[in-house]
Amino acid sequence: MRASDDPMAEFRATFFAECEDLLEGAQAGLLAMQHGRADSETLNVVFRAVHSIKGGAGAFALEEIVAFAHQFETALDQLRTGTLQPDAATILLLLNASDGLSDLVAASRDGTSLERGATDATLADLCALVSDGKADENPTEGFVVTKLSLDLDAPEPPLPERQTYRIDFVPDDALYALGNEPLFLFRALAELGDLEVVADIAMVPEIDKFVPGSSYVGWTLDLTTAASDAEIAEVFDFVDGLCTLRIARVPADRALDPVPCPPPGAQTASAQAPGSAPQEGPVGEPPQTRPEAHLPQASTAAPVAATVRVDLDRIDRLANLVGELVIQQAILTQSIADTGLTRRSTVSQNLEKLTGLTREMQNGVMMIRAQPLKSLFQRMSRIVREASAASGKPVRFSTEGEATEIDKAMIEGLADPLMHMLRNAVDHGLEPPGIRAAAGKSAQGDVRLSAAHRSGRVVIEVTDDGGGIDRAKVLDTAISRGLVSAGAQLSEPEIDSLLFLPGFSTAGEVSNLSGRGVGMDVVRSAIQTLGGRIAIRSETGRGTTFSVSLPLTLAVLDGMIVDVADERLVLPVHTIIETLTLSDDEVGELAPGSSLAMVRGQILALLDLGSALGYRAPLETIAGAQALVIALEGNERVALLVDAIHDQRQVVIKGLRDGFGRAPGVAAATILGDGQVALILDPIEIVAHAGIRAAAPLSSAG
């Protein structure tokens, strides 16, 4: 494995991987706080994350991270103690701080150095915040100690009826004389709950005054337990009368005394939620050292499922192998079919079982690769924040369906297009606050990012509540750029789709936010590379929605195998509504070269796939040919003419390189059972390509 010669490199890699998780957790917590869910546990999660990063960074001598995380942590600590209030401005600053921290972490990981001072402003803000907090601090209140016990071995939260008892225990000489041993008592107590033991050795005399057999040591014990007073008293039954004993309940809301040196193994005990409302500090207590010394690492209140961190390469290799297995199994199926064995033969039946297993295995591997969109969505909240700050438009950003899972490779590929779409939504979609107010909308714009599974695909939508697409302006721009001939009559969806033409940008002046002319065409091609499609819905005055529909994985596809001009082709099953055989009287011509088909009373455009792909001249007679009805965006339908329709089959997607066959209409390729490469078509692109050439309302065909 890599870096086996440098164990530190491996630790570093682990540290940075953990940092990513921790930062994600911190961001999630801060976002929750922004939405008014600022409970103490959320705050603790954030605090722990920042603290763990600081600790890890310290171990690797990453000074910049340590310094930054330290200020960040201090601010969070003041929030916990209540010296700072979690108002909107503070939380925004903390979110910026978490952005800054993740920049620092990323820079250290990649060995690049951030632009000098990139995080200085945030750091300065943090410092200011922290010192404000200190100034407001009520001196009589003191620094409140919050100790935290999140026992990793016992993840269930402490029972509400758990109580903390303070036991003062000073044995008499007689206790030892009768052979009693305090250690056994403490052990018995420890069995009842979490025990902290502090010895009071103030009574121990100088060595020359020391009387052997005398008792000089007393103990203060803090026991957190669900046991009753009687049960605790019972422990001391045998030493009754041989010691000074006082058992008292410690009020639940009171912070515990600090324990200078807890015995090894003993858990620090506190049933209370740390950092809850400002607490009354125990009077006369020495100021506590930083509480983090007692913080257990990496623990959250929510039960976390056990996970294994696996090198992505290994999973990819496994996925590839399973892909080969699927192909090989298809080859086997074909060769067995060629031998003429019936489906009832033992071989065929066993083969069917193998097919089932292969498919399950394929799904299993895909599930390993699948990841929730959560981390991506969280990254996007930063984009919106920055866009909002840069454009001066206040934005309320919400996400939905972040648990939706999708292939990890897709998540990477989605980051750029989503970023672009969100910036567009803020920059172009939302109106300036003044105009919003005039339109009776709240000054704060809404931008929503949502994801959902819809019929075997993942649909991601970016919605704004802005003014909608200014279609007149779009059309004017398109005409002035020569993208559309003047006077062309375009329907609303057609105008909307002009946004996807290369080099189109409606922003009057180019802002440094949404880029320079590289617009939605780049977004669309990025989405198409992922096997996805993008569509626009817009309502004037109400807002715009960009909807991206993606396959669940880049690795396999449910395909329909068809024959066209002696070539075997694959069409994605999800695009096909029905298959049918056409007779001559169901087919007509609108104009030469543009055919129509009657399908149960509905008239559909009929496209000869063979000639659309340039494989052959248009068919003379259509009689007896088979057709696939394809669903386009917006419920439009088109019939595709093919020579023969075979079966439906799962195929492994093999990418085609740009420049070699990424022709319009070809999405990818696959290898069929006979070892032959078959092209996987994107029927929607084929129709668009053919349609533009046929009807040509747009002059920039192709």
């Binding site: 198409q528 070699f660 070892g675 032959q676």
Partner: protein, 155 residues
């Protein structure tokens, strides 16, 4: 792969020579990944004429270029007796369809000479050097010119 065969070494270069139609061509043997028999390529829609299509190379999809068409020679049908040379150019694998592979040659550096002046022959654009071997002329192909630049097609 030994140091002696490195291009630019004074002792000479090892070349793979082959026939396209009736002409002799060669290129550096270090570009060659493997040589395999003909298999029917799957044609790509709207592809240039020289791009025959794609074949299955042990589970990956390999584009195949008809070298004769690429060099501007008259159309001819590819036959199952043709050979596909798989080359790696700019980290991309491409198959080149040729009529036959003939030999592996070691030519001293000074045996190679630049092609004479600007020629009307369209092949000239692809030939980086010439050499005489046993009375026959061998044209050294510039693979970077033969294989079209990447990313040309719209995504």
């Amino acid at each position: 792969m030994t140091a002696e065969t490195r291009p630019g070494d004074d002792t000479g270069r090892e070349l793979l020579s082959f026939h396209v139609a009736d002409q002799n061509y060669a290129f550096d043997i270090l570009s060659v990944r493997e040589i395999r028999g003909w298999s029917r390529p799957t044609p790509l829609p709207h592809a240039p004429a020289y791009l025959l299509g794609v074949i299955n190379l042990r589970g990956t999809v390999l584009p195949v270029i008809d070298l004769a068409a690429r060099l501007g020679m008259p159309d001819r049908q590819s036959t199952p007796r043709d050979v596909i040379i798989v080359v790696t150019v700019a980290e991309t694998d491409v198959g080149l369809l040729v009529s036959a592979v003939s030999d592996i040659l070691t030519l001293p550096r000074d045996a190679l000479q630049p092609p004479p002046g600007p020629a009307a022959d369209p092949v000239a654009a692809f030939v980086s050097a010439l050499a005489a071997q046993d009375g026959a002329m061998i044209r050294l192909l510039d693979l970077n010119a033969v294989i079209p630049a990447q990313g040309g097609a719209a995504a």
